[in-house]
Symmetry: C2
Subunit: 298 residues, 2 copies
């Protein structure tokens, strides 16, 4: 893809940071995987907490906000941008690819590919925000991934020929994750309600299509049953990031120690207080406030 | 209060509209009451859907957004401003009173007064967003209202001397209301969890301290039991609006037919689609989009 190939940009080199953004704190689950897969890389994370969530907002608004954040990250001389938010990926990826000076990675395709590769009965479920489901992008990505696998004569080609993709919007899941109700009777009942049609239709592979959902993994897995494989795209996204860096000769050569910066458009202390479970136990420090007013001047 | 008395402002007169704002659609429950109480008045409603909700955001961010919206409404020559959002009322009312050119009405005090007036055992509960609870404003307002009633030798003065106010943040209630899960087993279970301590402590009067909560009235009432009185401040706010207009000689004299305008910072169709239950069945039309970018130029 041409947008993943850049020539040379004066202020960018192998030691430049990777820019990662999300509507808030959910994208930290992706950041954690990037740190794990690429321990030598510096990162700049932006959480748009002042305007979160994106999952209930419109296409135009999500594109506008994502574009502003891309410009902000470019002003910090990032060498690539990771849209660590499914709602932003599904609505703003095309726009960002077109106008970004650096490679852009989204979180939809890696999860869709994983799902198509690993299903044994061709029945794939996607759970996500309303904005993501409305976009239809996951459905297209899974269908495309299945076509590619059939062309490559993948072992599960036969079941992929009768592919069934079901998308279900689960707006309350993100609220439950932020409330810290990761494994409560309420969460279980909400999951039973949302997932009913996916269970009845025999879904064997379920994509967690929102960066908040890995926190509810135990409940979702319990409700779907042990025969359903859950796909959390975080690790596949990190692998994609590695591939793109490699292809563009942008992998850090180890000459500098990595640094980790955090920015939020709301209160930094609130951000840090909420971040820990999403980072798997770590806590960011030195988070800076950035007013979204400033984005237009960047 | 001096902020409720204005002298003369060139473009404002009796026929000017009342400006009402909320983080999104919840404030429509207040608008409905204003229409009911003041059928001759024109209104301009602004819903900040592009940045909603406010209930999980910080003090500074809520003050900043509320100030921007106040300026926008002033540019539309409103004769008064109603902060139809508990989170914004509890954090931004003081600031808005100080800088607004027109009278400002908030939604906390009217509900707090009602609760203090009507409790029979002095045990008052407040349910609200995390931002509202953190501010402590409801607690202060109820305590102040109780003091005033004791000074006035109100019939329930004796119980007010041993006043107990309990505030509980119920972040999932607004999400449930927006999801349309007004009366489901999940909503009931969430209510049982949140309201447990209020039931155990013998709360006889409960303030619905978020404009979304009237939609969950049946469930909340069912869980609290028939001996608990629920206070929805909408109608008291409308009466307060009438008093302030009257005091400032700004009541519409009936020479013009009222008009109703709606603005939102996200997609107008999404706004209108979600508005109906909050307006009690009516549906706004002709809603205009306003970018929050424009607020700084207003």
């Amino acid at each position: 893809m041409t947008h993943n190939e850049i020539s040379s940009l004066a202020d960018i080199n192998r030691t430049s940071p990777i820019g990662i953004f999300d509507s808030g704190i959910g994208g930290l689950t992706v950041l954690k995987e990037i740190w794990h897969t690429l321990p030598g890389e510096s990162t700049i994370y932006f959480g748009d907490n002042g305007r979160q969530p994106y999952g209930s907002k419109s296409h135009d608004t999500i594109v506008k906000y994502s574009t502003e954040i891309m410009r902000f990250l470019e002003s910090k001389h990032v060498k690539m941008i990771v849209i660590a938010c499914n709602s932003a990926s599904s609505h703003a990826y095309e726009t960002l690819c077109r106008i970004s000076k650096v490679p852009v990675v989204e979180v939809i395709t890696p999860g869709a590919r994983q799902a198509a590769k690993r299903t044994r009965n061709g029945k794939i479920g996607i759970i996500a925000t309303r904005a993501t489901v409305t976009s239809g992008v996951y459905n297209s990505a899974v269908v495309q991934a299945a076509k590619n696998l059939i062309n490559d004569e993948s072992p599960n080609s036969e079941v992929l020929r009768s592919l069934e993709v079901r998308e279900v919007a689960c707006p309350l899941f993100a609220s439950l994750a932020e409330e810290g109700w990761w494994d409560t009777p309420v969460t279980r009942m909400v999951a039973e309600t949302y997932l009913q049609t996916l269970i009845e239709s025999g879904t064997d592979t379920l994509v967690l299509g929102c960066t908040h959902y890995p926190l509810l993994r135990d409940v979702i897995s319990g409700v779907m049953g042990e025969n359903t494989l859950l796909i959390d795209s975080g690790s596949s996204v990190a692998e994609k990031v590695r591939d793109v860096l490699d292809k563009n000769h942008l992998m850090n050569d180890g000459s500098t120690l990595p640094t980790y910066q955090f920015y939020t458009s709301d209160d930094p202390h609130m951000f840090e207080n909420m971040a820990t479970p999403f980072l798997g136990g770590g806590r960011p420090s030195g988070t800076c406030y950035v007013s979204t007013d400033s984005f237009r001047e960047e």
